[in-house]
């Protein structure tokens, strides 16, 4: 399940791009989930672990991916750190839910991300309560952002 601490959080990795630059592994980029997320969010195609084809920028390296995709990859690969998911736009929301579908994921949000009109399960850690849709999430988490 996706667990979110809303608002300021000590020891969170806020600058996820710098962390990614120094921590990512080549095999992470070729992972099918990463390939899908890069295609969906950045509209870019993974050619190899060191080469991605962007429709706007041309051939780029993994460190030139968007902040949102880099954060998603970190969240999916590193379990012992909490990352600032406010680097992710609303177009990353479904991927956060997918990453957390079968495991416990903890992230930090400093804004209300739009998780869409469907049902979900998100633990609002500040309140220790589960939100099942956006209405419940806004009511539970709004006061913290």
């Amino acid at each position: 399940m996706l667990n979110i601490w809303f608002g300021n959080m000590p020891d969170v990795i806020y600058d996820t791009s710098t962390y990614f630059k120094h921590a990512y592994r080549d095999q992470w980029i070729m992972d099918p989930l990463s390939v899908e997320m890069i295609r969906d969010v950045d509209h870019s195609e993974v050619i190899s672990s060191n080469l991605i084809q962007s429709p706007v920028l041309g051939a780029i390296s993994p460190v030139q991916l968007s902040g949102g995709v880099k954060t998603l990859i970190l969240v999916s690969k590193i379990r012992n750190q909490v990352f600032n998911a406010s680097r992710c736009g609303d177009n990353c929301a479904k991927w956060l839910l997918k990453i957390a579908a079968n495991k416990k994921i903890v992230v930090n949000l400093r804004h209300l991300m739009d998780f869409g009109n469907g049902e979900f399960k998100i633990m609002v850690m500040n309140k220790k309560k589960i939100a099942h849709n956006m209405r419940e999430l806004v009511l539970l988490a709004g006061e913290y952002v």
Binding site: D42, R87, G89, R110, M134, V138, G142, E143
Partner: protein
């Protein structure tokens, strides 16, 4: 620094064209739209100027401020410039950052989705980046509708509660206007208290009126709540209450229309952190010593006379509760 600035930034691959109107511009939106690319281009130009391969056309220098420990020292050396700050910089949300930029003569372009409650940015200056081929432009995230509405509660029932930020002159004005009617006027306490009040009263039909000039940091959660209760909450955000008075035609002040048509040419960012501060001072100064002298703490009866209050209300009347 004052005025509007057109900024054109390009390299061999991408182009960005946008206009800055106020001291603080916030850029949000989806991932993968080119925010970091824009910041990186400004950053390269800051270090290497034309030798970076980046071209920038703007009447003021465009510089990048990085997420560094000595950001305050760097900032102290930047004047009359447009300062770009990427979302890696955690200091953006701090009180120290707000204090540091408050009396500077720069404009700031901040890439950040966090709700920056320390900064009084306008609902009108929150953008996302839209792309057409290789050209990137800014587009407002929150679209203003008629009568300064940003969200209009569905349904025929008029609101029964009018919610203001604080209990100053604006609240006093509305309370007087609705005196003796079924509409109750409530002051939340501050702009950051509006969300909590709405959350606790989401079964009531509420007309929120707040100062759009400094309501930017509240938009994410207040509009998020409105989206969940679309038939209950109406959001009306004129620049400020003083701006409404100035706009109403109630006062005959030389040069007023020119100022209202182009505030950014008149409002010095070093002196006024938010446009609402300017409008308040302008109104106080231009009515000082008259029989209709304006005071923020206590509304003068001149403004609450039905004939006069009607002119102010007319600017936002269409969806107001009926008096």
């Amino acid at each position: 620094m004052n005025g509007k600035y057109t900024v054109k930034i390009k390299d061999r691959r991408v182009r960005y064209n946008f206009e800055l109107v106020r001291n603080i511009t916030v850029v949000q939106g989806d991932s993968g739209t080119g925010k970091t690319t824009l910041f990186d281009m400004v950053s390269a130009f800051t270090r290497l100027k034309e030798r970076s391969g980046v071209q920038i056309v703007c009447d003021r220098p465009c510089v990048a401020l990085h997420a560094e420990l000595d950001w305050q020292t760097r900032l102290a050396g930047i004047h009359d410039s447009i300062v770009f700050i990427d979302e890696d910089a955690e200091y953006i949300g701090t009180h120290e950052f707000a204090l540091s930029i408050r009396h500077t003569d720069n404009y700031y372009v901040i890439f950040c989705r966090d709700s920056l409650h320390q900064l009084p940015y306008s609902v009108e200056e929150i953008y996302e980046i839209k792309t057409s081929n290789k050209l990137h432009t800014f587009r407002k995230i929150y679209r203003r509708q008629k009568d300064y509405l940003y969200a209009n509660a569905a349904g025929k029932t008029k609101p029964s509660v009018l919610l203001t930020e604080d209990s100053h002159s604006g609240y006093q004005f509305y309370r007087h206007y609705y005196d003796g009617t079924s509409v109750s006027c409530v002051a939340a306490g501050s702009n950051s208290d509006i969300f909590s009040w709405l959350k606790e009263h989401h079964d009531e039909k509420v007309f929120v009126i707040a100062d759009g000039a400094a309501f930017g940091s509240e938009m994410n959660r207040v509009m998020g709540l409105q989206h969940q209760f679309p038939d209950k909450i109406t959001i009306c955000l004129p620049e400020s209450f003083e701006w409404l008075i100035l706009q109403s035609g109630l006062l005959d002040i030389a040069g007023l229309n020119e100022m209202l048509n182009d505030p950014s040419s008149y409002i010095d960012s070093q002196r006024y952190f938010s446009w609402e501060n300017y409008f308040e001072e302008y109104l106080i100064q231009h009515t000082f010593g008259t029989y209709y002298a304006y005071s923020k703490s206590q509304i003068h009866s001149f403004y609450t006379i039905r004939e006069n209050s009607g002119k102010i209300i007319a600017l936002i009347a269409a969806n107001m509760p009926e008096a």
